[in-house]
Structures are given as structure tokens and as C-alpha cells.
């Protein structure tokens, strides 16, 4: 007979049982019982300055390690502050478990102090959530939550625990076997569909692989690489999949979509076979879906059946885990020879030569943001986990960094949450303390979550931050210039912030670069400081715009390659 423990003790024990090594949170009245046994646990608690930060930290941890990230908040405002990271994790399929305190069971429904209907509010922002009514359920609920968060299409799961349940007595027991009759993800692709896919691939003259974040979630990068080489199919990666396929590979076309390379976006427009793997035909990728990949037959591989046929009905649907299905495809492919696709690949190479990513850094002019990314890549040797905010700086980072490995690019794609990078970088650093973690953040986003730099300093998590200081919501300015006649409504930040002083006051080292020649020295300096977080305030040019660009809702045939260059997609390019 095991000893009596409290529900709170059972909770911490259950987390230990799942192998949790770090949790991110902010305490408060209703969750206090759970904070007491944390003191006696080997689990590390990182005290965020805001629950949104705690949630993004859990996400950053999950992205960087592939394990489930955990965040904790109290009832009411603590829980509502978690809504943004939960919605973010749902959109980007990030496995996190959120634990929230709740007012005592007897007070639920009475508008008690700090009561919010957390399970109701988070229902559409989670993969699943639980309201726990007895301490005896805790081992099973926690075990199920981790299972649901990390399997199938990963996502956020929330556990709401009333204070009396945390305080009540129970006995620890190993969680019983999972009983989830309605949750049985499919991992193995249907053999018939696999055979059909192989036939299409063998016949295709102009195939393209359209690779999404699912490949990273499924740890299928190696399989992808072998498959692409075996079948000789060029690869485009979405914003979520940067790093799933090495950018220096001869088959790599880079990112596609709204700010994708001309070659990647156009290759999909001209391909005769599109092989989508762990991708969901998001509007930022397809532009107007009616004109997307108009000549292509589609093979769609995804672990979430609801994604298949949601936007585009594929010729060959394959429900399954990206890694397993790619292996099945390779097995079915066997010793076949890839057909001669040299004409197609030559066309792609010509486009790459004709329409490369371009910018011009005038040595005497203002710092170009693209130059900062290139210098960062050069001086770190690309050996860093890059964590981006949302805006122009994010797009430049995804375009100009040469990714070579998965889980080294972390960003908010689906929800597009400004302020994501600093807390997510803190979480990534907690999960991979030996790696260099560099956050790329805009000044707009920085002002939303920069208080988590205090967390980074206080907790000994020395992240580095490249602050792209253009004095504006740069991406908004860009849209206003392009689509609103240059009328800048509420997009210039105003106010005067001395970022060096600001970050120094939070326990970080602050550096500044105001001209191109100051960029490299500042980065080098940042790499030499490892006892504190470092922030470099790069004063960058607000006049720079992100190109290529396909205007929202437009056709991917109309890629605008640069400021002067209107739509270019000469019909003669059709091979």
C-alpha cells in the first residue's frame, strides 16, 4: 500500500513519470498547491514573467527537443494569458501540455475570484482538454495528455485542476493503460495508394516535393532526403519546414509561397506532379487556391486525414506518418531508375540564376536587414538554433539563412504571433543548453514580450537576440506602401527607446550597430559573451521590402520579384 499523497503531489509525480525535466510557469492562488511539491522535485521550474511567455517557452522547448513542453498557470487571468500560445501550438502542431489551476469545485460556476471557464475558452485552441474532478484521475489524465499531445498530429493539451482536487488526498498509482477509443491515429500508408503514388512519380516529367512542417514533427528529414535523391525530385520547403531539407542540396529550391523564391513558387505552378508531405495547402503557400499548381496531379501525405482534401482534392491521398510513408514509397520504388528529368532541372537552375534573392548593401548606406542575416549566418557558421518573431525580419531570416538541419528553425507560422521569438528562444535554450540560440525579433514584437529577457537572465539561459530596429511595424508599413497608397496608419512605433539601456537594466548585455561596418563586430562581440543574454540593436533600413511577394489572395503565377519588377512569369518558361 503506497502512502497517501495530495492531488498536487500526484500531479508532480505524474510529470516526473512522463520524463519532464523542465516546466515554465507563473504561480497564483488556485495553482499554489502544485507549486509546493515542485520544491522537492528534480523538475526545474522556469519562472516566466507572463503566462504567454511561459506558453511560448514550452513551445520553443518542444520545437528544439522534439519532446513535450510543459507550462503552468493559475486560474482566471493566468489561464486566459495562455490562450495565445495554445492557439499558436494548435496551428503549428506543437506538442505542449498546459496545466492550469481552477477555483475549488464547489465555487465553479459562481463567478468566484479568478474564475474563468478555462476548458470552454480553450476548447477551440487545444487538441483536447481535461477538467479534473478527482485526484485519483490525475495519473491517467496526465498520461493521456502527454500521449495525445505527442502522437498523431501533435498539438496542445490542457489540464484544468480545481484547487480542492489538488489538495485532496489520493494514493499514487502507475497510470492505467490508455483508454482512448476515439483516438487511433493512422501511421501506415495504404499499400494500394503507395503503389499508385509510385506509378505517378515514375511517370512524372516535372515533379516537385512540397514539404511542410509535418516532416520535422515526424522526424522524417533523413527519409525525405533519401526519397528525394532516389526519385530525383526537387524539393520546396514551407516556412514551417525550413531545415527539413538542406538548402545546399542540389535538389533544394528553398521556400515557396507568399515570400518564397521565384523558383520554388514557380516550380510548383509548372509542375505536373506535386508531392505534398506533411503540408496543409495554407493560403500563404497557395495564394489563390483555384490557380495553384494548375497542371499538377497531387499526392498528399499527411497524418491528419482532415487536411487531405480540405483545400485541394488530391489524386492520391495517403494518410500516415510522413517518415513511414516515405519509407513505404522507397520500398515500393525499389530498384527503379528515376526517369531523365534533366530538362526540368535545367529549367529550375536557369530560374535560380535569373531570379535569385537580391538586395544591395551600400557600404555607406543604412544597414540592410538581409545583410544582418547573412553576416549572422557567416559568423556563426550557420551553427545556431534560429528563433524568429513575426514580420519582415522573419521572412528575411527564412530566406537568407541556409538551413541544413531540422529543429534549428523555430517560428510562429500559422498564427503569426508577434513577440514569439524571445520566450520561444528561452524555452529552446532550456531544452538544448549547449546550443547557440539566436532570436531574430522585430522592434514591434520585441516590445510585446521583451520582459522574458529578465527570465533568461534570472534563470541563466543566455540566449542572444538580434533586434531588427526599423522603428516600425515593418511588415504593416510594407503592405501600406504596396496596397494603401503609402498612407502609414499606426505603423510607425514612435516613442524613444534606448534598447541598450533597456536590456542592460534587465540583466543582459546590450550592443548596437548603426552602420554596415558595425554589423560584424557586434555579432562577434555577441558570440563572446556567454554569461548573460545579449541583445544587439541593429538599426535597419525601413525602406527595404520583402521580395519576392505574391499579394494575399493573388495567383502564384504573379510573383513580384522586386520593387521595380512587376509580375514576372513569362509563359515561354513552360517547359
Amino acid at each position: 500500500m503506497t502512502d497517501k499523497i495530495t492531488g498536487a503531489q500526484a500531479l508532480i509525480r505524474a510529470l516526473e513519470h512522463e520524463g519532464v525535466d523542465v516546466v515554465f510557469g507563473v504561480p497564483g492562488g488556485a495553482i499554489l498547491p502544485a507549486y509546493d511539491p515542485l520544491l522537492d522535485s528534480p523538475i526545474r521550474h522556469v519562472l516566466a514573467r507572463h503566462e504567454q511567455g511561459a506558453g511560448h517557452m514550452a513551445e520553443g522547448y518542444a520545437w528544439a527537443t522534439g519532446r513535450v513542453g510543459v507550462c503552468i498557470a493559475t486560474s482566471g487571468p493566468g489561464a486566459t494569458n495562455l490562450v495565445t500560445p495554445l492557439a499558436d501550438a494548435l496551428m503549428d502542431s506543437v506538442p505542449i501540455v498546459a496545466i492550469t489551476g481552477q477555483v475549488p469545485t464547489g465555487a465553479v460556476g459562481n463567478d468566484a475570484f479568478q474564475e474563468a471557464y478555462t476548458t470552454g475558452i480553450t476548447m477551440p485552441a487545444t487538441k483536447h482538454n481535461y477538467f479534473v474532478t478527482s485526484p485519483d484521475e490525475i495519473p491517467e489524465v496526465v498520461h493521456q495528455a502527454f500521449h495525445i499531445a505527442s502522437t498523431g498530429r501533435p498539438g496542445p493539451v490542457l489540464i484544468d485542476l480545481p484547487k480542492d482536487v489538488l489538495n485532496a488526498e489520493t494514493r499514487w498509482h502507475e497510470p492505467e493503460e490508455l483508454n482512448l477509443p476515439g483516438y487511433k491515429p493512422t501511421y501506415e500508408g495504404h499499400p494500394l495508394r503507395v503503389r499508385e503514388a509510385v506509378e505517378l512519380i515514375e511517370k512524372a516529367e516535372r515533379p516537385v516535393l512540397y514539404v511542410g512542417g509535418g516532416v520535422i514533427k515526424a522526424n522524417a528529414s533523413d527519409a525525405l532526403r533519401r526519397f528525394a535523391e532516389m526519385t530525383d525530385v526537387p524539393v520546396t520547403t514551407t516556412l514551417m519546414a525550413r531545415g527539413a531539407f538542406p538548402d545546399d542540396h542540389p535538389l533544394a529550391l528553398g521556400m515557396l509561397g507568399m515570400h518564397g523564391t521565384y523558383t520554388a513558387t514557380t516550380a510548383v505552378q509548372r509542375c505536373d506532379l506535386l508531392i505534398a508531405v506533411g503540408a496543409r495547402f495554407d493560403d500563404r503557400v497557395t495564394g489563390n487556391p483555384a490557380t495553384f499548381a494548375p497542371h499538377a496531379k497531387v499526392i498528399h501525405i499527411d497524418v491528419d486525414p482532415a487536411e487531405i482534401g480540405k483545400v485541394r482534392v488530391p489524386e492520391v491521398p495517403i494518410v500516415g506518418d510522413a517518415g513511414r510513408v516515405l519509407s513505404q514509397l522507397m520500398e515500393a520504388w525499389g530498384a527503379r531508375e528515376a526517369p531523365d528529368r534533366s530538362a526540368w532541372k535545367e529549367t529550375l537552375r536557369r530560374w535560380q540564376r535569373e531570379f535569385p534573392l537580391t538586395y544591395h548593401q551600400d557600404p555607406d548606406g543604412p544597414i540592410k536587414p538581409q545583410y544582418v542575416i547573412e553576416e549572422l549566418a557567416r559568423l556563426t557558421g550557420g551553427d545556431a538554433i534560429l528563433v524568429a518573431g513575426v514580420g519582415q525580419h522573419q521572412m528575411w531570416a527564412s530566406q537568407y539563412w541556409r538551413f541544413s538541419e531540422p529543429r534549428r528553425w523555430i517560428n510562429s507560422g500559422g498564427l503569426g504571433t508577434m513577440g514569439f521569438s524571445i520566450p520561444a528562444a528561452v524555452g529552446a535554450k532550456a531544452g538544448r543548453p549547449d546550443d547557440l540560440v539566436y532570436a531574430i525579433e522585430g522592434d514591434g514584437g520585441f516590445q510585446m514580450t521583451c520582459q522574458e529577457l529578465i527570465t533568461a537572465a534570472a534563470e541563466g539561459l543566455p540566449i542572444k537576440v538580434a533586434l531588427f530596429d526599423n522603428g516600425a511595424h515593418g511588415m504593416v508599413v510594407q503592405w501600406q506602401r504596396l496596397f494603401y497608397g503609402g498612407r502609414l496608419s499606426a505603423s510607425l512605433l514612435g516613442g524613444e527607446v534606448d534598447y541598450v539601456k533597456l536590456v542592460e537594466s534587465m540583466g543582459c548585455a546590450g550592443l548596437r550597430a548603426e552602420s554596415p561596418d558595425e554589423v560584424a563586430p557586434a555579432i562577434e562581440k555577441s558570440l563572446s559573451i556567454n554569461d548573460r543574454p545579449v541583445v544587439i540593436d541593429f538599426k535597419v533600413d525601413l525602406d527595404e521590402m520583402v521580395f519576392p511577394m505574391v499579394p494575399a489572395g493573388g495567383s502564384n503565377d504573379d510573383v513580384i520579384v522586386g520593387p521595380g519588377g512587376g509580375p514576372v512569369a513569362p509563359a515561354s518558361d513552360l517547359p
Binding site: T119, G120, P124, K127, F131, G182, D304, P305, A306, K310
Partner: protein, 167 residues
Amino acid sequence: MSKHTLSVVVEDKPGVLARVSSLLARRGFNIHSLAVGPSHEEGLSRMTIVVDAPELEQVKKQLHKLINVVKITELDPDQSMEREIMLVRVAAPPGRRSEVLEVAAIFKAVAIDVGASSICFQVTGPPNKINDFLELVRPYGVVDLVKSGRVALAREPKTTRQRLKAV
């Protein structure tokens, strides 16, 4: 838009109705009717949902993403039995009472409350029968009305029934 009937087996957990209805609302599918109650198995409930949707594939797939949803069957109207219950109070002053009762008799509607100026009928059956009855009594004056959501079950597959007949 066409109506489709779904028979959905769910775990009998608190909030499961809210999950199903909020998911359908969020994804833009209009619920025409929804009826829920215990199923023949302990711990499982059965929902009959009638939705307006151009096609059902997405509705089914989205519902399947709910952890508490165990099984979804789309019911073909020709291969299933659909029933509703309606309680309708019809104006029936003493002079017209027998006339109203006659109409009711044809439809096997049961008078469950007879008052001084109205009669309340209970009608059960397939939705079209209920609607027919309603149209017939409308001219007398409908004072009050309530309908259950539609409930439905699939018929036993034809082959078995034919075999039974043959025996």
C-alpha cells in the same frame, strides 16, 4: 444546401456535446437538428446530427479529430429509419373538437392533453409524416409546438433481411 444525417457515437463525458456543437459552428457547418442520449453500450452516447453542408467528408473528418468521438456513420435515408416526436397544441373550441380529433386519428396522433379551447397531440414518426400532420392541423390554429431532434438508426443490411424473409 443539402441535409445529411450523421449518427455519431461519443464517449459519455462532460462537455462532449459542447465540443461537437462548437466544432461544427467553428468550421461553418449549420446544425439543423441534434439529438443525444445514451447508446446501448455503457459509457457511450449516440448523437443524431442533421447538418446542412455541401458535402460531408470535411464534417466527418473534423468531427473525428475530437478525442471523445468514437464512431461516425453517415445514414443513407433509404437505408435507415428516421424518427421525430412532436407535441403540438391545436386550437379546438368545443364546436370543432371532433373534427380535429378525426384528423388526428388518421395520423395516429395521441391526444395527451384536452383543455377547454385546445388539444395537445403527440405525433411520432418519420419527419415527413410529422410535417404532413402539422400542415393539416395548421388551419385550425397551432397554439404551441415542440419537436425533438431527429433520431435515426441504420437498417439491418438488406441481404440479412432477405434471408430472414426466405426462412
